[in-house]
């Protein structure tokens, strides 16, 4: 079989290697195991209906992430407000009381989780692509369909916002380290 010919259908079962990473990424993105798995399932189904559009192996992961991104955006548009997530733009200055007496590592884990969910969706996506999926900036831009400059500015805002969430001592007034 001429598997190197463009357009020859690839073997969908090779996608299985990407599933654990996709599930992890989706959980951090949507913050809920079941909804995350539904998103992964939908991503795989859509991918399998478009075998002819599969890129070469080295770019399959990015392609899957972009399929997932498109589905996710559709979902967000379909159900507003997205339950459990901050509205698109006004979470920039949101902070939550933190628990200073918890063990530091547990605290960090909880805070990272909560901090992530406090981020506007667009910023959360960029941060997860860069830090969890370890995408290069231009790769993240391709996945999201935005210019690299947009990725960089979202990354800056996400990091600044997350720093506020993680740094803030309990009861202290929010100090805004706004990067931009």
């Amino acid at each position: 079989m001429a598997s190197t010919m463009p357009g020859v259908s690839p073997n969908p079962e090779t996608l299985i290697a990407h599933v654990p990473g996709l599930r992890r990424y989706a959980r951090l993105l949507v913050g809920d195991v079941h909804r995350a798995d539904d998103l992964v399932q939908d991503t795989l189904e859509r991918a399998c209906r478009a075998l002819e559009r599969w890129p070469e192996t080295s770019r399959q992961r990015a392609w899957l992430l972009s399929v997932m991104h498109n589905l996710f955006v559709d979902q967000v548009r379909a159900r507003r407000p997205l339950d459990g997530a901050a509205p698109l733009d006004d979470a920039l200055e949101a902070t939550l009381p933190s628990r200073a007496d918890a063990a530091r590592s547990v605290q960090l884990r909880i805070d990272i989780e909560r901090g992530l969910m406090q981020l506007p969706l667009a910023q959360r996506e960029v941060l997860l692509l860069v830090c969890v999926a370890d995408c290069a900036y231009d790769e993240a831009a391709t996945i999201l369909g935005v210019p690299v400059g947009t990725v960089m500015s979202r990354l800056s805002r996400a990091r600044a916002q997350l720093r506020i969430e993680l740094d803030e001592p309990p009861g202290a007034a929010p100090r805004l380290h706004r990067v931009k």
């Binding site: 830090c131 800056s156 720093r163 993680l166 380290h177 931009k180």
Partner: protein
């Protein structure tokens, strides 16, 4: 810009955090951090975030892939293989495009051979349909249950068909296997209904059937009652297929039934049963193909049967024989 007037661009700061900065600038930033506590604090915080995120949610990586995801991929793989094989020379058949046969002559030719290949009651003969060279019928269209007799054969369609219908290479209209009036070589209408139903329900992950196979007795009794005749759900475990379940469907002459089977790789076949095909009518096994769905069909004692799947013809014919034998063995 950042809170520190560091002289580094945002881009460089992020690159440092993400380990994507070249060595010279990395050194420069780290030197600046020693002089600039605010810069150092910012970058340390960002680096800590990154490390926390890297460590976060890793338990998901060790979890087994859920069955529904496996099934989706396995099913797509099975379809891709089934479509690739007849068209890509994998089974030694003529390659579509080379000597690309044109209808209607080609159509008649392959039908004639197919009719010889599969013989009613072939159980006794132990036929092996796949061994007989059947002229390759070019996969006609992408998508389920398409493949109109009016659509010109296109060599590339075998590839498009693997997309399960999103390739846009073929005519979107249904109607591939509908018989032309008065054409005795065309399959009866229930075959078309069966391939459409196959295409609709086989990809369904969450609700492929109405009554599941673990309620076999209830399923058969219910469908028998609705079709007004005694049905059976043949046991295909010897062939590696388990009964997923079945559903009631509207047919041209009233209710029809669809039984679905699945193998360990998630490949699914359906057995469609339609009544009112003539009380005494019986036909030979016949082969029909619509898009990437291949079917064997026959009529026996007034019931039309269609076994459809996306797999090598030889394997499907083996299954069809098993189904026929199982039904034949039933007390009447």
């Amino acid at each position: 810009m950042t809170e520190s007037a560091s002289g580094f661009s945002d881009d460089e700061l992020h690159r440092w955090v993400d380990g994507r900065l070249d060595a010279a600038r990395t050194e420069a930033i780290e030197a600046a951090m020693r002089e600039d506590p605010a810069l150092a604090a910012t970058l340390a915080a960002w680096r800590a975030q990154r490390e926390a995120l890297e460590a976060h949610g890793r338990e998901a990586l060790d979890e087994p892939v859920p069955e529904s995801m496996r099934a989706t991929l396995a099913h797509a793989a099975a379809r891709a293989r089934a479509v690739d094989q007849p068209g890509s020379g994998g089974t030694g058949g003529p390659t579509p495009g080379a000597g690309d046969p044109r209808r209607p002559a080609a159509n008649a030719a392959w039908r004639a051979v197919a009719a010889v290949v599969v013989i009613a009651g072939a159980a006794a003969l132990g036929f092996q349909a796949g061994r007989v060279s059947v002229p390759a019928e070019p996969a006609r269209t992408a998508g389920i249950a398409t493949g109109g007799t009016g659509a010109p054969p296109r060599p590339s369609d075998a590839l498009g068909a693997a997309s399960g219908g999103t390739g846009g290479t073929g005519a979107p209209a249904l109607g591939g296997v509908a018989p032309a009036a008065g054409d005795p070589s065309s399959p009866p209408r229930f075959v078309r209904a069966a391939t459409i139903a196959h295409g609709v329900y086989v990809p369904e992950v969450r609700h492929p059937v109405e009554v599941s196979g673990d309620q076999r007795g209830h399923l058969v009794a219910w469908l028998s009652k609705r079709l007004g005749t005694q049905l059976a759900a043949p046991d295909l475990t010897a062939e590696g297929f388990e009964l997923v379940g079945g559903r009631l469907l509207p047919g041209e002459r009233g209710p029809s039934a669809q039984l679905m089977y699945q193998d360990a790789q998630g490949l699914r076949v359906t057995l469609y049963v339609s009544r009112g095909e003539g009380e005494t009518a019986a036909t030979a096994f016949r082969f029909e193909r619509a898009g990437d769905v291949q079917s064997f069909y026959w009529i026996d004692r007034g019931l039309g049967y269609v076994l459809s799947g996306e797999m090598q013809r030889e394997r499907l014919s083996t299954l069809a024989t098993s189904v026929y034998r199982a039904l034949e063995a039933l007390p009447r």
